[in-house]
């Protein structure tokens, strides 16, 4: 029989509600599992064990008294350490915010708690979300559960690795240019970047506001949809959210097959990937075709320019977003007393890591008066052209299919000294961020050496249901929720 921590959240939640087990038992098991495993993975920056236990007892009491409980009753959720949870340190994996405790909850956190979900801890990441490997953390790199010498992907490395290593069933990440999908692919879990404007960013410490969204990570699509339903929705505290119908469903396979999805396959991007990634992606194409989906080769001509556009916009916004960190009002231990403020600003801002400093410099450069038109304005123009290309493609196809990452996970430290090579890894994921459309990474299989390979699906804005439908198909074909790393 499976141990509690191995079960999907939807199964455990039912057991708790039917009083087969208590929420307290479950949370205790989870805490024990985290204590046993995470020193190897390093996916948590801080934990919330005590208040999680007390919350679990409250939920048990509610159930005993016959009161209604929410969709996530007794389920622990890990939160990326750039999403504010009232009273818990929010470090963004940076020395700059090592002592910052937010006085308010992010909207997504309030929504999880309203559904009786339990915040179990804060998860490791690249500093301020800037990275593709989760190595740029002031708290040490996240390790890949499939091989501890390898990167977990980033920047939401902790969010993916903690779920993959059976520490927790669900987590939240944030995705600015692939930060949910990349580690999901590298760790063999499902991660979705929702449509821009469908999930509130209130409480998410901004890296690049116009590109990023918060999204869930899970081991099965059924858990993922539950959490996605909880966090989606228009929010009066975020002017960029939109009112839409956000009730996603996990349909029966037969129903989904009747929808006869037409899927465009981005063949040139598959060809450009590492051999094993390409082979695995083609296998997925064949599986879907066999099930009756209409598969057709297509391409995005402007994808070559996407990376340049992305890094100009992301660093420009970041350079401004990160200006507020000067340790005058909050941050780390240290006081401005005795300093002239200019020298205090330089002193405090030296606390940023090198990658963050690099991106602030890049962003400041592209926004300078003389260069605005040459870089920023041009990048925005390209962005709208890419959006238009997607519009045209989605007139023809329901979904686009491509690899999540062009490569397999690599060794820790292998690419940290080559920023451009690192940036190039984002080329398949940034497309959805530039266009503001939803994209999901689904476990596709394992390489010969046992490294996960993810397959990515992209839909038009607010087309999440289509992505979920195809994820259900793929999960039923391969049963990937059973692929578990041995730790």
């Amino acid at each position: 029989m499976k141990s509690l921590h191995e079960l999907p959240a939807c199964v455990v939640s039912r057991k708790i509600k039917e009083q087969e087990i208590t929420a307290e038992e479950y949370i205790s098991t989870i805490i024990e599992r985290i204590r046993q495993v995470d020193h190897k993975i390093n996916s948590f920056i801080s934990n919330n064990f005590e208040s999680a236990l007390s919350k679990s007892r409250t939920i048990d009491k509610k159930i005993k008294e016959g009161l209604n409980t929410g969709l996530l009753a007794g389920i622990p959720v890990g939160i990326k350490d750039n999403i504010s949870v009232q009273g818990l340190k929010n470090t963004c994996a940076s020395r700059m915010l090592s002592e910052y405790i937010p006085p308010y909850n992010a909207t997504v956190v309030s929504k999880i708690e309203a559904q009786d979900g339990i915040v179990i801890g804060k998860l490791n990441m690249d500093e301020f979300g800037m990275g593709t490997t989760s190595e740029y953390s002031a708290f040490g790199p996240v390790r890949n559960p499939w091989n501890l010498g390898y990167v977990a992907g980033g920047s939401s490395g902790g969010s993916a690795a903690s779920v993959a290593s059976l520490q927790i069933p669900l987590s939240l990440g944030s995705d600015t240019g692939g930060s949910i999908r990349c580690p999901s692919s590298f760790c063999s879990v499902i991660g979705i970047k929702p449509t821009y404007g469908s999930v509130s960013r209130n409480g998410l410490i901004s890296y690049s506001n116009s590109l990023e969204q918060i999204g869930p990570i899970a081991r099965t699509i059924y858990d993922l949809v539950t959490l996605l339903n909880v966090i989606s929705g228009v929010d009066p505290k975020d002017n960029t959210t939109l009112p839409k119908n956000y009730e996603y469903k996990t349909d029966h396979v037969d129903h989904i097959l009747k929808k006869k999805y037409k899927i465009g396959v981005l063949n040139d991007l598959i060809d450009d990937s590492e051999t094993e990634v390409a082979e695995n992606t083609r296998k997925k194409v064949k599986q879907l075709k066999d099930r009756g989906c209409e598969m057709e080769d297509t391409r995005i001509p402007l994808s070559n320019y996407a990376l340049a556009s992305y890094y100009v916009i992301a660093t420009a916004e970041a350079s401004s977003n990160l200006s507020r960190f000067d340790n005058l009002r909050y941050g780390y231990q240290g006081s401005p007393e005795g300093y002239e403020w200019n020298s205090y600003f330089s002193e405090s801002r030296s606390k940023f890591g090198d990658e963050v400093k690099l991106r602030i410099l890049l962003g400041s450069y592209v926004l300078s008066a003389g260069y605005f038109g040459k870089y920023y304005a041009k990048a925005q123009k390209l962005r709208s052209m890419i959006k238009r290309e997607f519009d045209i493609l989605f007139n023809k196809y329901d979904i686009l299919l491509l690899p999540t990452m062009p490569v397999l996970p690599f060794r820790l430290g292998e690419k940290t000294l080559q920023p451009i090579e690192n940036y190039n890894l984002d080329v398949y994921t940034i497309l959805a961020n530039l266009a503001g459309i939803p994209a999901i990474s689904i476990p596709g299989g394992l390489s010969k050496e046992g490294f996960p390979i993810g397959v990515q699906l992209i839909a038009n804005a607010f087309g999440e249901q289509k992505l979920i439908d195809v994820a259900v198909l793929l999960e039923n074909i391969e049963g990937f929720e059973t692929w578990i790393p041995k730790i």
């Binding site: 901004s206 506001n209 009066p236 401004s320 200006s323 926004l367 605005f372 304005a377």
Partner: protein
């Protein structure tokens, strides 16, 4: 330009060009521009009128106050600006401790049309003086061009112990003001004299009051930066000016400074200078060449705001009556002289006071005369004694209510109260705050015009001296004798014409 040209120019007096950058807090809004903290920060202990949003805490997002957009667009309409279909916000990035985010959310027109208003002009009510100032030409007065109007957030406030920041060991920051809605109005350099500037400022403050967007009596609610250039030379910006009186002084000083430089063949450098209020001089702050790089770019957290035609027409219909409209009404409907009407209209509080008096007693001419000739004279006296402060003239310093003025006007017009006596009563009324009617009751100097009491006095006299009836048939002087007795009885308060008629009637009836 060779030296001969220069000399010619100097003889004619080099052309003085002044432009203004006015900041007006929208104090009449309930809440700040991007959060629910109060606009009224003035009564809170330091840093208490704040929240995660206006403190710029990580992860907070600006939530645009739609009323602020309406208020700002009202200002635009009053300044005859065009309002674009779409507006947007920009970030102006610079490090300063009074900015919680180290950038200011504002509007910026270099890359696209982002500001709430552009290319306006302003017409004036004009000075109420009968003799216009020679340097304040009519054409200039009637048309100051407005470059743009933009909506932005106010920063926090830094307090130093010493005036010179270098002499301080510490500074204190109060973020209560951070995030309050501010409207910036930029004019073209269309002014050619300091007096013109002052007149303009007084009138637009009045306009803000008419619009109901701000209370200019609050310290720091309306502020002004100035730029000055002479003879087509380089532009110098003056900042840090605390009041409109100082604006005028700073322009005089700066003009003299630049003229002196030119006379000695020294180039005027384009720079920003600070007004040192204590020493009454401008001091170099930083030169324009090394001006900070603001790295403007569109604010990603606030989607573009689509205003559209409906918005403009809806705001327009909700706008209150503006000074020029009111002036027209006073002259055409109320039949007040242009001179008097201008005096009333040029101060919204006085004009409102007038309107309220009218609602008590509808006699525009009489009431306007009492306000302009009596009330304002008193206020001006107090003003000269320096009893008013900030940028408004004060009605508040006099404890007078509109009904007091209405009563006195009514007493004069309806009850034929003698004007000299009326003035005395009005003075007493102003000093004590009691109503003129009460004062008259106490003094018993009200003219008796009601027939009833007079008839009663006549009959009393005839009862005690019945022979008068008989005598009156042969002696017409009896009537005057009776009138004398009545006057004696009433201490002269009866209306003699009414009394005479009544005496005649009484004698004939008997």
């Amino acid at each position: 330009m060779d030296s001969k040209d220069m000399n010619n120019r100097m003889k004619m007096g080099p052309e003085l060009k002044i432009g203004l950058e006015i900041h007006c807090q929208l104090t009449n809004l309930q809440t700040k521009l991007f959060c629910d903290c109060l606009s009224n920060y003035r009564n809170s202990p330091p840093n208490e009128n704040t929240c995660p949003i206006c403190l710029g805490l990580p992860g907070t997002l600006p939530l645009l106050n739609k009323r602020a957009v309406e208020f700002a667009s009202m200002i635009c309409m009053a300044f005859n600006c065009s309002i674009p279909e779409k507006i947007s916000f920009y970030r102006k990035n610079y490090f300063y401790p009074d900015l919680p985010k180290n950038y200011q959310t504002t509007q910026y027109n270099s890359y696209e049309l982002s500001s709430i208003g552009y290319e306006g002009f302003i017409e004036f009510v004009g000075e109420s003086k009968s003799k216009p100032d020679a340097s304040w030409e009519r054409s200039e007065r009637n048309n100051i061009r407005i470059t743009r109007v933009q909506l932005e957030e106010d920063p926090g406030k830094i307090t130093y112990d010493e005036d010179k920041s270098a002499a301080n060991n510490y500074s204190l920051i109060d973020y209560n003001r951070a995030g309050v809605s501010l409207v910036e109005i930029v004019t073209e350099p269309d002014f050619s004299s300091p007096i013109a500037v002052r007149t303009f400022l007084n009138e637009i403050v009045n306009l803000f009051e008419y619009l109901g967007v701000t209370d200019p009596s609050l310290e720091g609610s309306v502020r002004c930066d100035v730029n000055v250039s002479i003879g087509g030379g380089k532009k110098v910006e003056i900042k840090n000016i605390s009041s409109f009186k100082e604006v005028e002084k700073s322009i005089y000083y700066e003009t003299t400074r630049q003229k002196t430089l030119i006379m000695h063949d020294i180039d005027v450098r384009p720079e920003t200078r600070h007004w040192d209020e204590k020493r009454k001089v401008t001091v170099a702050a930083r030169s324009k060449e090394e001006e900070e790089e603001y790295r403007y770019f569109p604010e990603p957290d606030i989607p573009k705001i689509i205003l559209g035609n409906k918005f403009v027409s809806r705001v327009r219909t909700s706008m209150p009556e503006l000074p020029l409209e009111r002036l027209k009404r006073y002259i055409e409907v109320c039949k007040i002289t242009e001179h008097t009407a201008k005096i009333l209209v040029n101060d919204k509080r006085i004009s409102d006071f007038f309107e309220e008096s009218l609602s008590c007693y509808n006699s525009p001419i009489e009431i306007s005369n009492w306000i302009v000739n009596e009330l304002l004279t008193k206020i001006n006296e107090k003003d000269r004694q320096g009893l008013t402060n900030h940028n408004v003239r004060g009605l508040d310093i006099l404890s007078v209510s509109p009904s007091q003025v209405a009563e006195i006007a009514k007493l004069v017009e309806v009850k034929s109260l003698n004007r000299t006596i009326a003035r005395e009563i009005f003075d007493k009324s102003l000093d004590s705050g009691t109503s003129p009617l009460k004062i008259i009751d106490n003094l018993e100097i009200e003219k008796i015009s009601d027939e009833g009491p007079i008839i009663k006095i006549i009959q009393d006299i005839l009862k005690s001296q019945p022979q008068l009836i008989e005598q009156s048939r042969s002696n017409p002087n009896v009537i005057n004798y009776v009138l004398g007795l009545i006057m004696k009885e009433t201490k002269g308060r009866v209306n003699p014409q009414i009394a005479l008629n009544l005496i005649k009637e009484s004698l004939e009836d008997n």
